[in-house]
Amino acid sequence: MNSTTLLVGLSGVLVTAAPIMFAVIGETITERAGVINLSINGTILLSAMGGFAAAYKTGSLVLGFLAGMLIGMVVAFIVAFSSIELHQSQVAVGFVLALACRDLSYFLGNTLFGLPGPRLPTWAIPGLKDIPVIGPLLFRQDVLTYLSYIIIFLAWLWIFRTRPGLMLRGIGERPAAAFVRGANVNRLRYIYTAIGGAFTGLAGPAYSLNVKAGWMGTQSGLDGIGWIALAITIFGGWNPIRAAFGTYLFSFLQWLGLVLQPKLPGIPSQVLQVAPFPLMILTLLLVNIGDAEWVQRILAALPARARRLAVRLLRATRALPPAGLGVPFDSE
């Protein structure tokens, strides 16, 4: 493989990573606020269908993306409402919504199947596009891919470097304490769940109007991406930058699978497509295992130097979820 093919391949990885990035950043924000939105696999499908329908009917790409975001917000609102007002399990409602949105997208999208629709054009950034290596890699993409770079840092800045971001972490970590400090916990949870849902809703049209333009129903190959995004969110330890790393790693591995395909004729393509999943499980294991009781016991039995090394290694991969994740908050 020569360097040009490699560069083209890697810049393709950035494009295919963009929709997953929106979903992962959206879910990271949602979960930071203490709400787990398990519905995103369905949300991506429904917003892909809805976004495509809107853009197809109106001819406007912008309306397509907005429609996707609106769908994401509505679905996220149902999760938040069921949890906050109706005290139902976020996991249960999210899971049912994941299935409902998926089935609904196949049902409503039936008449759109295979239609030729609009597609987001690429727009190379003048000046930046001519930088050697970095130019072709990063700056000859479409607007959505640029947006996917930007939101990583925006989300990180918001969560870790601003006052409202401090409050956001507070309502996810210790809602009662945040409430005492004057935060309207439930209202903020509504807002952040909706924002997270809007990002996730952008992932759908990012597929149907760009990465995999068109709507192909069950053959769209979008079923399953939301579940991956959920796993990457955990892998990312609720930190947008680490989550971005996980997203790119995943897309890179999928691309690698495609590239290696001709060299491994014995293995069907579908197998390499799912190759990242065992790795995903392994990384989730790495992220969590440091807190297991038996690991702690073994660590305690190690000689001091080995223990220090092992603890440092485990701490580097470890990620703790927001303490209030999934727990409804009642001010009474």
């Binding site: 109706l86 409602v93 409503l108 799912v274 065992p278 969590n288």
Partner: protein, 349 residues
Amino acid sequence: MKKNTWINLSFQIGALLLALLITTLLIVAAGAPPFKTYLSILKGSFGSTQNVIAVLIAWSPLLLTTAGVLVTFAAGLWNIGMEGQIVLGAIFTTWLLRLLQITSVPPALIIALGILAGMIGGALWAALAGVLKTFGGVNEIFGGLGLNFVATALTLYLVFGPWKRPGVASMSGTQPFDQKLWLPGFLGSDLSPIALGLSVLAIVAVFILLHNTHFGLRLKAIGKNPKAAYLMGVPTWQYSLFAFLLCGALAGLAGALQVTGQYHRLLPNISSGYGFLGLLVAMLINYQAVWAAPVALFFAALNIGGIQLQILYKLPFSFSGVLQDLLVLLVLMGEGARQRFVKNEQEPQ
């Protein structure tokens, strides 16, 4: 009847009516006649002996997966990996059948061993999710989902790789087994009385386990409050792991019966979504094993009755799924609304 019973009932009926209202609007939007659509679902599921048989064939795996998740739900676990456990059951069964079909072992014994292998396969796959959860701290939802994908990949690998049909490897699966390795069907159909019997037995056993045994009581204690259960001397991780094993074995049994009873081969889509559907049924019946059989039958009827809609009114196959999902969603939300309503009644402001 007491007032509370009336309130409960009206909220549940309200949820049902709302779900029907929404799906009716969807039917109208899709340009089909609503009343006739519902009627043809009814006809398509119970209209003829053949249809009833098809419904019963679908009922059996759904009953098994529902029985399985009732156990894990009782322990407070979300066994979302059940799809993969069905698949592994099917793979293990196929493997054993392939291994023994060329030997002189009596067919009945091969089938029995095959089904047993399927249960072991499903249980092992569930145990993997369980070990990841109990010893690795990996949330069972994500471990299970990942394992689902791995299981699907494994099937595809086998169907297109080592077990491919001589000549053409395709999505239609492996070479069908010789008829002597099929579970005997009822009236020449694929409805196996043995499969049906095992499924009914499973749900009855789970009901007894959860309601009438000390074991079930402790399992539910873990589900309600694992810390308190641990302090009361319940061996928490052993019980959780056992719940996974049992659920996996039942899912594996479903997979084994799909292979021996219905498809007679390994297909890429062998789980047919029965794992997720079982989760939905368990939620809809609010985790009460008593209601598992009738509600699973209702869902199976919707699945079968929905098949014809595609031909009759060009309604997409996912219509039944939409109806099922909306029903569960609205019943969950309705239950929340009811609790709020009752609470407000009790403490007037």
